[in-house]
């Protein structure tokens, strides 16, 4: 379980997160939503120990993040930040194998090999395993990075804008994979995501932020409402029910 208590963060006197407290449910997809600069990515980075907080505490399975041994935590929690534009020439297979690093420290055993195969086939990229990352399309590359995170085989998977640069086909594929991770492998997935309709259709738990403060958290019935969305985005958003999903209409 991930518990967030009174988290605050400021950069050079500017407060970007204020007094955030919430608990993220196990075995669910949680999505952080909010406009640009609301503090979503900062919160995700603090939870995954990539950024130190200015105040408050994050507990992962009862233990404060700072008390975790870094390598042990890497077996419990995987994180992928946005913009993996790095021009490093690795093959897809090599990248995914790095997901096993917390376990093997580079010397892959049979179990590691199996996990790598599983991750590749889960994302349907076994056929491009020997291609170099810089020869792939943005979508394929993103899939390769997600496969690496899956190979890391952690209880918690934190992703910062995993749909960035993906076309709609890849976006849908990505969300279905994340759904499967939760439903079939029992993972807990935590996302920062901009596309409100993907959130509405796929997330179990939604955390809404505005200007560094928590506006609300709950299921889609609680958050995907004209009132809450107006509060977050300052936009008048019409919500239609289509085939049991709440779809936000805000394009015109």
């Amino acid at each position: 379980m991930i518990e967030i208590r009174n988290i605050a963060k400021s950069y050079g006197g500017k407060e970007v997160l204020r007094n955030i407290s919430l608990t993220l449910p196990e075995n669910r997809i949680s999505a952080f939503i909010g406009s640009n600069g609301a503090g979503k990515s900062t919160l995700l980075s603090i939870i995954s120990r990539l950024l130190p907080q200015s105040g408050g505490e994050v507990r992962i399975d009862g233990k404060p993040v700072g008390d975790w041994d870094s390598r042990e935590l890497a077996k419990r929690l995987a994180v992928l930040r946005q913009s993996n534009f790095m021009d490093i020439r690795l093959t897809v297979g090599e990248l995914v194998a790095f997901g096993r690093f917390p376990y093997s420290q580079g010397r892959l055993n049979e179990e590691d090999g199996r996990m790598v195969e599983k991750a590749l086939s889960y994302l349907d990229i076994t056929d491009i395993r020997d291609r170099f990352l810089d020869e792939l399309s943005g979508g394929q590359r993103q899939m390769a990075f997600i496969a690496m995170v899956i190979a890391q085989d952690t209880r918690y998977v934190l992703l910062d804008e995993p749909l960035n640069n993906l076309d709609i086909r890849h976006s849908v594929h990505m969300m279905k994979v994340l759904r499967k991770l939760v439903d079939e492998m029992g993972k807990t997935v935590i996302l920062v995501i901009h596309d409100i309709n993907f959130v509405s259709c796929y997330a179990d738990h939604i955390v809404a932020l505005r200007d560094g403060e928590l506006v609300g958290a709950g299921g889609r019935g609680d958050i995907i409402t004209p009132r809450v969305l107006e509060n977050i985005y300052g936009l008048d958003i019409d919500i239609r029910e289509i085939d049991g999903n709440r779809i936000c209409v805000y394009y015109a």
Binding site: A74, M86, I88, R89, T91, F98, P102
Partner: protein
Amino acid sequence: MTSRATLPMAIVLAALSLLSLAVGNAGFILGGVSALESGPAGLLLISRVPRLVAVVVAGGGMCVAGMITQTIARNRFVSPSTVGTVAWCKLGILTGTLAFARAPIMPRMALAFAFSLAGTFFFMRTLSRAPVRNIVTVPLIGMILGAVVESANTYLATRYDLVQNMESWLQGSFALVVRGRYELLYIGVPAAGVMYLYADKFTIAGMGGDFARGLGLNHGQIMAIGLSLTALMTSIVTITVGGLPFVDLAIPNLAAVFRGDNLRSNLLDTALLGADFVLFCDLVSRLVMRPYEVPVGVTASLLGGSVFLWLLVRRNRLAGA
């Protein structure tokens, strides 16, 4: 770890090595080696073999150091010679010569290493404060820092009448390598071994701090280890044979084109390619105007620079296509 290119490169290395042993003013036939110290065997043991070992270790070592620098700095245009490590090392050697000229090589080596290390960290520190960090500014900052240090070197050398001494030392030449003057280079072999042990960690560090921390690594620590090892390799090579311009820049780039950026799989090929290249440069240096020698630094600049230019043009053409 090995690739299709590994064996051919090893064969080339063996062939060039034999050639290197046979080339020289006092010609001799390999079959005629006798036990006499004053005869061909003496020549072989005192001069030719040390020279060969020096070339192979220096060439391989500098290219491995260059490859690691490029990977952890996430920039293909940096290398110990472009980020100023070599310039700092020369300053260290010069300081050592001025302060205690009669001291044995080890303390002077330690001083050169300390200067290289400090200079490399100073570069990384400067870099982390630079407002703009892109593919061009990173090596540019390194070259500016290096040039400032080089000018200090020139000043010191002029002031204390060491210009000739410094030029002959640091031009990059294997001509002075004889038994008793090159053994320091052997430290490069275990240093390269340690680099290989850390290969995966360096590759991960090269994918960025967040990425490394996400996999449970202490990014700062890995960077420090990587920079220290490359500074060590640079100072060992610079103090024994001098600077080999462009080699540590061009050869890792060439190796990365066909072997990728995964250090665990590319380091061996990089070392072999580097040894092949420098050995070739050394042979050219010895043959082009025999019985005299051109400093290998000159040959290496010309050939290494050409390789680097060719890679740049090729890259632009690929990008344009």
